[in-house]
């Protein structure tokens, strides 16, 4: 049973436009959510996180929105840059254990 779902395996966006990556979760015990970015041949790197007591967290070009009632979160990247092209993983936790989604491959087209 997949507790963290990223339903879009891939996304293409023009440089300068907004990228929106979506994530849904099913476990009500999750109270902390993170996004990781992964380039080929490298390990994932932490990007941004949000606690369940908030509905928005911003860090530069990256904003994460959390809708608890819908069990949905999204990552917005504005403006998108070619260097943002990577696989993005959504992750959630209610304990020490992180549960990851399957990832969305973002391609930013110059």
């Amino acid at each position: 049973d997949q507790q963290v779902k990223q339903n879009s395996p891939s996304l293409s966006v023009q440089e300068g436009r907004i990228s929106i990556l979506n994530c849904d979760y099913t476990n009500s015990m999750f109270d902390y959510f993170l996004w990781y970015k992964k380039y080929p041949a490298e390990g994932p790197t932490f990007l941004i996180s949000i606690s369940s007591i908030k509905d928005k967290n911003e860090d530069g070009r990256f904003t994460v929105f959390l809708n608890k009632s819908a069990k949905h979160l999204s990552l917005h990247i504005v403006p998108s840059q070619p260097g943002d092209s990577a696989v993005y993983f959504c992750a959630a936790t209610g304990s020490y254990q992180l549960t990851f989604g399957k990832g969305t491959k973002l391609s930013v087209i110059p």
Partner: protein, 113 residues
Amino acid sequence: DVKVTQSSRYLVKRTGEKVFLECVQDMDHENMFWYRQDPGLGLRLIYFSYDVKMKEKGDIPEGYSVSREKKERFSLILESASTNQTSMYLCASSERGKNSPLHFGNGTRLTVT
């Protein structure tokens, strides 16, 4: 900067061999993790450890074991490698506290033939 170092980037082993994957972190983190990444399946947790000599099973521990004799080192052991264990293996560490972000190594690409 946190550094998580995995001893090998690429490994090729034969079916039935015992395989050791080594991971070392230099930031005195209490928690360490082993994941595998497979296409279409994302990252799946194999084992984790929140203290020296402590270990907990993750989602897919079958066919694996771990060792944490020192705080900075967390080893993943494939007792008898099988072809379905061909994968990218990722080690990670984090500070104590359940919401501490994970810091990952660059991964070991293991091929079992």
